[in-house]
């Protein structure tokens, strides 16, 4: 029997302004699954990912990630939860005053790895994302696609079983999007569970993984969809 990585049961999220970001969301994602979370801007994708990473608490409902009941009252091990997941966002969140290697190694140093070990592991991860020759460059010297690859390397350098990606290709052109998607596909091949939020449905034509459709805070399905029936959001993709 497959192990469950993410469980959300009847999750609601309403902001103080009475905006309902999530409404009765129930999903289950198995270990090793690659899942697209597809929906237009403002549909609740980011809120869902933020709840999974404990950056926000739901108004009601139950959430279990990697066996941790993160919505239980008194759950305080957020940092332990974060060590089991990598997070990638549209705006990369890289430290601009550090080199490529330092950015990746930083993720290991802050969880207690020795500097030399962290540097070596960062180099290895940067080789995997094809940036071995840019290790000592500063972040500002990189293209957007390269910066996103650094962000991915940083997110997965400590080999977390789960990767949450919030619009990771949102700022990239078509060529770079393909490059980045290949890295995600490679990580999935190696057994990583990936939840990939995007509004660009064109991606799922080329990478036919499981798709969760989200609209106005409601997850419409949890099964593979007929790509032709998904509304195109990004014209020309």
């Amino acid at each position: 029997m497959d192990e469950t990585m993410i469980e959300m049961h009847h999750v609601f999220k309403t902001y103080p302004s009475q905006i309902c970001a999530l409404s009765d969301v129930t999903i289950e994602i198995l270990s090793g699954e690659f899942t697209f979370l597809v929906g237009p801007s403002g549909s609740g994708k980011s809120t869902l990912l933020r709840i999974l990473s404990c950056a926000e608490r739901p108004t009601s409902g139950e959430v279990v990630v990697h066996g941790m009941h993160i919505t239980q009252p008194g759950f305080k091990n957020i940092y332990q939860l974060r060590r089991t997941m990598g997070i990638v966002s549209q705006d990369f969140k890289l430290l601009k005053d550090r080199t490529v290697n330092e950015n990746v190694a930083f993720a290991l140093e802050v969880i207690g790895h020795a500097r030399k070990e962290a540097k070596n592991k960062a180099s290895e991860m940067l080789r995997r994302v094809g940036l071995e020759e840019r290790e000592e460059d500063t972040i500002l010297a990189l293209s957007a696609g390269e910066q996103q690859r650094v962000a991915i390397a940083r997110a997965v350098v400590n080999s977390p079983p789960l990767l949450l990606a919030d619009e990771p290709t949102g700022n990239l052109d078509a060529k770079m999007t393909v490059e980045v998607m290949r890295i995600f596909a490679d990580l999935h091949q190696k057994g990583m569970t990936i939840l990939f939020a995007t509004q660009y449905t064109g991606l799922i034509k080329y990478f036919p993984y499981r798709v969760l459709q989200i609209s106005k805070g409601q997850v419409l399905n949890g099964k593979k969809v007929d790509v032709s029936k998904v509304d195109e959001v990004k014209a020309g993709e």
């Binding site: 990473s53 957020i78 940092y79 939860l81 997070i87 969140k93 430290l95 802050v110 969880i111």
Partner: protein, 283 residues
């Protein structure tokens, strides 16, 4: 280097705040010292009845020495009193010509223990002394002692109240300025939170930073205060210097300097602790 500016601002504000507090401490210290010199002069003079037999003086002296609160008792005979008056009058001592020392009453000069040099306690000693019929009159400058006691009390109370208010203000200012330092690193902190750094790992460097900033701020405050203290004597007019010479304004002793440095360090730490509680919540 990106953090240099907020760091300097924080150190500067701690230094200014601690300078205000240190200046106040220096003033209070010197004023207390000044009052202490007057405090040492508080004594009770008990005049014996003229013609008290010398055989009664010695037992009375012993009895007085045994009274609670009495430190030293000195018998002043009429001849001692005359000598003292002559010395006081100096060139004008011929005014005393023809006056017999015996017209001066013999007396006891009673020095009290430190804790008895206030109006209430002196009153207790005087009450005991008055029970002896050999004493004709007892003087201790009651009004002056009462004024002095109230003055000292008000000064010390003011020192603690103002000191406390200043400390609260310093913690508030420090915590707010330390938020500048923290916010200048918000990206780094956000990444730390993302990758699972423990709360202690994120916060401890800020606590250490607060400690160091507090220590440096305290050190700078002491340095500025020292410069001000030295400058005070360099730039005051000579006429005032002569007047001030009677009230020596000394610099803070080592013990107080250590307390101020320690205070700065603790405030820096406390400020960073409050700031981190406000802005370093795990997100």
């Amino acid at each position: 280097m990106g953090n240099l500016f907020p760091n300097l601002i924080t150190i500067g504000i701690i230094a200014i705040s601690m300078l205000i507090f240190s200046t106040f401490t220096l003033l209070a210290f010197n004023l207390t010292n000044f009052l202490k010199t007057w405090e040492d002069k508080i004594e009770v003079i008990a005049y014996l009845k003229r013609g008290t037999p010398s055989g009664e003086v010695e037992p009375l002296l012993k009895k007085t020495r045994l009274l609670e609160g009495v430190e030293v008792v000195r018998y002043v005979s009429p001849y001692d009193a005359m000598t003292f008056m002559e010395a006081k009058l100096g060139r004008q001592k011929n005014l005393l010509e023809g006056i017999q020392p015996t017209i001066l009453p013999p007396s006891f000069e009673i020095q009290l223990k430190k804790e008895y040099r206030n109006s209430t306690k002196i009153g207790e000693v005087v009450t005991h002394l008055k029970k002896n019929p050999q004493f004709e009159d007892i003087q201790y400058g009651q009004e002056w002692v009462e004024t002095f006691s109230i003055g000292v009390h008000i000064l010390r109370l003011t020192q603690w109240i103002l000191g406390g208010l200043l400390l609260i203000a310093i913690v508030f200012i420090t915590s707010n300025t330390l938020q500048l330092t923290i916010s200048s690193r918000r990206e780094e902190i956000e990444v730390m939170h993302w990758v699972g750094a423990s709360p202690g790992f994120v916060r401890v460097p800020f606590y250490v930073e607060g400690l160091i900033q507090g220590l440096l701020g305290g050190g700078l405050a002491i340095l500025f205060l020292f410069i001000l203290h030295q400058g005070l004597f360099l730039y005051i007019p000579p006429s005032m210097q002569a007047w001030l010479a009677r009230i020596p304004v000394v610099f803070l002793p080592l013990e107080k300097i250590v307390w101020i440095l320690l205070g700065g360090t603790v405030l820096g730490f406390f400020g960073s602790f409050v700031a981190s509680m406000r802005v370093l919540r795990y997100k």
